[in-house]
Symmetry: C2
Subunit: 384 residues, 2 copies
Amino acid sequence: VAEKHYLLTPGPTPIPPQVATAMAAPMIHHRGADFRALLQRCLQRLREVFRTEQDVLVFTSSGTGAMESAVSNLGTRDGRVLVVSAGHFGERWAAIAGAYGCEVEHLRYAWGENPSPDDLASRLAELGGETVVLLTQSETSTGVVADVQALAAACRGTGSVAVVDAISSLGAVPLEVDEWGIDVAVSGSQKALMTPPGLALVSVSQAAWRRREQGDLPRFYFDWERTRKAQERPLPAFTPAVSLVAGLDVALGLLLEKGLDAAFEHHARLGRACREGVKAMGLELFSPDDDRSAVVTAIRAPDGVESGEIVAKLRERFGITIAGGQGELRDKIFRIGHIGYIDVFDVSAALAGLEVALADAGADIERGVAASRALETYAQRTPV
Amino acid sequence: VAEKHYLLTPGPTPIPPQVATAMAAPMIHHRGADFRALLQRCLQRLREVFRTEQDVLVFTSSGTGAMESAVSNLGTRDGRVLVVSAGHFGERWAAIAGAYGCEVEHLRYAWGENPSPDDLASRLAELGGETVVLLTQSETSTGVVADVQALAAACRGTGSVAVVDAISSLGAVPLEVDEWGIDVAVSGSQKALMTPPGLALVSVSQAAWRRREQGDLPRFYFDWERTRKAQERPLPAFTPAVSLVAGLDVALGLLLEKGLDAAFEHHARLGRACREGVKAMGLELFSPDDDRSAVVTAIRAPDGVESGEIVAKLRERFGITIAGGQGELRDKIFRIGHIGYIDVFDVSAALAGLEVALADAGADIERGVAASRALETYAQRTPV
C-alpha cells in the first residue's frame, strides 16, 4: 500500500496545510464574539467569490442540501420546474424536485452533451415562462462545463428564476452571479474552495426572494429566511460546523489573496495540461477538448479495460485517487479532477500512474510522454 | 483578552487532541476503501454508544437536521404528532412539525419542569394512540434531564413511536435505545461525543421503519431509506463531512475504550461537583439538584444581575465560555455545560471565574469556596 497520497477526484479535494491548521484550533462557541467575527468575514469573502452583492447563505450539509433548499424554497406543490440535464447531477435536480411533488419539465441531453441556450429559450417559450429553471454549471459526471451565462440569459425576461448548481465550478471557472443574472447559485466547501466537505453555500437574488414568497413546500433546516435573518446579526441559525467555517475562511483568504482571475487561469491551464497529456498517451477524451473544461477531465477507457478496476489499482499501488464513471458511464471513463489545491505536478503524477496501470492491463498506449507533455503544456500561458 | 480558553457550554464542547489530529489528516475520497472502512467502524461504534442493534444513520448537518428527518420520515400530511415540551428544544420539535403541516398536539410544561410519564400516558389514551411522540432527553435550555425510559414506556402498546432528542445527552447519561424501546433517537457530534459540530445521528427501530411506510411528506437529503441503503455498502448517500467522520471515529474509540459506564459516572460526578460549588457560592440552582442532571447546570442569576452581561465578561476577561439563558430565560440564568472532554478542573475554573465576575458586579456571594467545594465533591465517588 502506497504511503503518499494524491487526491485528484472532482471532490473532495486536498486541503492546504493552513486550512487544516485552522480547523485544528480549539473549539469556540458559535454564538460568541469570536465566531461572529469569523462568520462575518467568511460571508464577505463568499460574496466576493460568488461575485454578488446579495446574501450568501451557509448551511451545514453536503452540496445536495443546498440544491434541495433551492427546490423547497422556490418550488410550489404541483408547480412546475424546468430541469436542464446532461448527466448525473442534472438528474439529481429532477430527483429532488420529484421528491417534493413538483411537476418536472425536463430538457434532457445525452450524458456528455452541452446544453444549448437556444433550446432552453424555446422550451421556456413553449411553457410560457414563469418557472424555476434548474441548471448545472460543471456536470462533474461528464466533465462538461456549460455556458451558464448564456443559459441564464435565456431565462431573462421570461419571469423565470435561474438556479445554478455551481458545486464543483465555483472558484475554478468564472461565475458572475450578479452580472450574469443568476438568481440562485449553490456550491459546496469541498471542491475548488479547498475545504473539507460539510458546508453548503447558496446565493439568493432579489427575484428569488420574491419568488420564494409564493412557495408552499415544507422546510425548516434549509429554510432560507431563517438563515438570512440569523446571518444578519451575524449568527448561524443552528449550531454550524464551526471547524469547517474556520477552515473555509482561511481557504477563501488564500483564494482571494491571489485573486479569482489567477485561480481561473490556473484551472484552465491545468485542464489543458491534463488533456494534452491524455492525448499524448493515445487515449480519447470524453469531456470536450476546450478551455472551458477546467474542472474535471473525463477520459474514455480503452477497449477491453474497465475503468473501475484501473481506478482501484491506481489507489492501491500508487496512492493516487482518481474517479471512475457514474451511472451509465460506470467503468467506461476515468475522471481526473483538477480543482482547488492541485498543481500540475499532481496532474502529471496521476497521468504517469494511469499510464503504468493501463500498460499493465495490456492497453495499447504510448509510454513515457504523458507526464512531460502535461508539464510543458502547463508552462505555456496561452493555448497552443 | 485572555489567551487561554475554557469552553463549558452545552455544545459545542472541547475537542480532544487525538480527535483534532485525526481531522487534520490528508483528505480522502468518500467512496474509496479507506473511507468505507472508517465509516463501517464508526457505524459499529455508534451502535455501541446508542446501545442498539438497529441502524444508526449519519447525516452531515446540525442536530436539528436529524430532528427534521424524524418528522419528515415519520409524519404524514395533516397527521398528528404529540410534542412533549418543557423548554426551548421541546418547542423546536413543535416548530419543525408545524413547518411540515402536521397537526401538533402539545403536552407542554413550564420551562424547567420535568415531563411526567403519567401525563403522557393519559394524553396518549385521550388521543387514541397511533401517533408520533416527540420527546427530549436533555432539555439543554433548562438543564433538566427527563426520564425517557419511563416516557418511552408510556408509549408502549399505544401503537405510537417514541422519538427522543438525545443531542446533548448521548454519551453523557444512560440511554438504552433498544432496552427502553426508543424507536428513534437523534443526536449530534458536538456534545458528549467530543467532535466538532456537523454530524447528526439517528437510530431507527423496526417499528419506526414500518411507520415510515405510511409517510407522505417530502424529503430527499434527510430521507432515511436513501442513507440506510448507502450505509449497507457501506457508503454515504452524499459527500459527507469526511474530516468530521474521521474525528468522530476517534472520539467514539476514546469513549468506548473507557466504557460508557465510566463516562456516565464521570458526568454524574461533574454535575454534582458543579451543583455543590454553585450552592457553596450561595447561588440558587435553576436545574434540579439531582444526579440525573449531569449535562448542564442551570443557575439563577442573582437579583439585579443580567446573566448575559456576566457571560460576556467571563469570556472577555478570563477566556471562559459558559452560556446564558435562551428564550424566556434570557438574562435570567447561567448555564455551565459539563459534557464531553471536560474535567473537574475546567468546572472549578468556570466557577472561580463566575465568582469573580459576580463579585465585581456587586452580587452578594460567598467568596473563595466554590472551586474547592467542586473539587472535593468530584473526589467523592458516591453522592453525599
